[in-house]
Amino acid sequence: MTPPDMELQTASVAPSNVLPVDVFDEPVPRRTPGRGPLSTGRKYSNIFRASLKERMAYRGDFLLGTILRFLPMVTTILLWRAVYAGSGQPIQAGFDYSEMIAYLLLVHISRMFSSMPNLAGGIARDIREGTLKRYLIQPFDMIGYLISYRVAHKVAYIVTSALPYGLLFFLCRGYFQTFPDATTFAAYMLSLVLAFLVGFFFEVCVGMVGFWFLEVTSLLYIVMTLNFFISGQMLPLDLLPEPWVTILKWLPFQYMAYFPAVVFLGKVTGMELVRGLLAEAAWAVGFMILGRFLYRLGLRRYSAFGG
């Protein structure tokens, strides 16, 4: 069984790309909204607010999930303790036991920012079923809409998960030997925001493939399954043998889990850190441009079936 995406709770009932109804329930503006940056900002902040409300409506079922969420962490900690005990060596690939556990906790935070359940699948569905046209006839940009929607969901998700994760990190505080200094922490925050952007635009690109192929969920499954390993969610990439470490550190996937975690742990410093952040930003921009390009190209052959 492949690991399910842990944010999927509302997936079946609220497909993420459906416009929340109350976007349109806002009081009718007395005058036609202008075209300035202010009204654009208001437009997207309305989308943001509506999505936030939608998201907070389903918080009740959180409890059982929260309890169960601790179990894999327990086995992971015990497994790595057995590995360190068995090897008889206190440091593996530059990670001591506490750092290893801290790393495995921190990738959860990375994934909180970079995982995008339903994004690519939603775009592909919009293309396939012809509902994409609502973005073409309404005065907002699809990618702009999706990113406001996604930021709202992320905020709600992070807010609702803050309690269980806060508890988890509190219980595991012993594994964090030092808290990073201000600069490192700022770099960590930046790397998380960039992780969100890399994850978002990467999935947008995958979704755009739907213009050319009717069925992208299969491609998506394969990508997501591979991503679980090559982004460093299961173990720090440094533990892998060459040439895999080098290859995987060239790919964008490490920024969705591995990179922010090692930044927090202070494993990447100085110029290396700057270079890493720049590369992460470059991947985000690269995927953004590619996504736009594919969207333009795709719209030319899009024929709005159905709907």
Binding site: L8, L68, S87, Q89
Partner: protein, 269 residues
């Protein structure tokens, strides 16, 4: 006996029907299978990486642990193939009220709800897991021992039944918690307990947990006992306890499920 035969026949027809349906979308089937192959590859890469660092993991040697990995993969594959998708659908049946259409049929509700469809795409997992176990046995030059094989087969079946019972209880919760998180996710989280040998539960804080999950909520018996019986020490009291726990759990989970069904209020039909 006639009832058992009837249900077996029914299961056969359902399996044939779902196979025919699955074969109508062969491409989809192949993709699902290849995702599972990739996943097994990832598990093995993880295993190799770990044993690149240590020779023994909580008393399990490399080949023994490989057998454990195969055993868990096969067992989980069997669970997924027979039950997971059906149980996953249950929350939606409750939410929409479509459960009514299943309850009015003259068949046992638990059977109909949990065995309606066979997910053929995960059937190869059982074979892949068996292949991994076979490789592990060959590597350790395992001597054929009919007693061990019998014990393995029996406890493997028990492990499947224990996992099924736990899944049934998790499924039943969705009667009260409409729209709960997908069972798929809950099952992934819960079954992570069974993914590793129970010997890793070591130390003053972990041992009570190990005890809890061995004797009270015995999810740790699932892959541990069959793998132990086959490649490590065959411990007859443990095998006996597993048989006993299986019977208790099957009974208790059924009672719980029936209790949950009585609380079902057929809301939206």
């Amino acid at each position: 006996m006639r009832i058992l035969a009837k249900y077996l026949r029914l299961l056969g027809s359902l399996a044939r029907f779902t196979l025919a349906r699955e074969m109508a979308f062969r491409g989809n089937f192949l993709v699902k299978v290849s995702v599972e192959v990739i996943w097994l590859g990832i598990m093995l890469a993880f295993y190799e990486t770990i044993f690149g660092r240590t020779k023994v993991l909580a008393g399990w040697r490399k080949d023994e642990f490989l057998f454990f990995v195969g055993c868990f993969f096969a067992l989980n594959g069997l669970i997924e193939m027979l039950f997971l998708e059906n149980c996953n659908d249950f929350a939606e049946l409750v939410r929409t009220g479509d459960l009514d259409f299943l309850l009015i049929r003259p068949i046992d509700e638990q059977f109909l709800i949990t065995c309606r469809r066979v997910d053929w795409a995960t059937a190869p997992n059982v074979l892949m897991g068996a292949a991994v176990m076979g490789i592990a046995l060959a590597r350790m030059h395992w001597q054929f021992d009919p007693v061990r094989v019998m014990a393995f087969l029996a406890t493997f079946a028990c492990g499947t039944a224990i996992a099924y019972s736990f899944m049934l209880v998790l499924t039943a919760f969705s009667v009260w918690m409409v729209r709960n998180q997908s069972l798929m996710e809950m099952w992934w989280l819960f079954s992570s307990l069974a993914r590793y040998p129970k010997e890793i539960f070591l130390g003053s804080r972990a041992e009570p947990l190990g005890f809890l999950f061995t004797f009270i909520l015995p999810i740790l018996l699932v892959a541990n006992v069959p793998a132990n019986a086959m490649v490590r020490t065959l411990n007859p009291p443990m095998v006996g306890f597993t048989l006993f726990a299986t019977a208790i759990l099957l009974w208790a989970s059924r009672k719980f499920f029936q209790h949950a069904l009585r609380s079902y209020r057929s809301a939206s039909s």
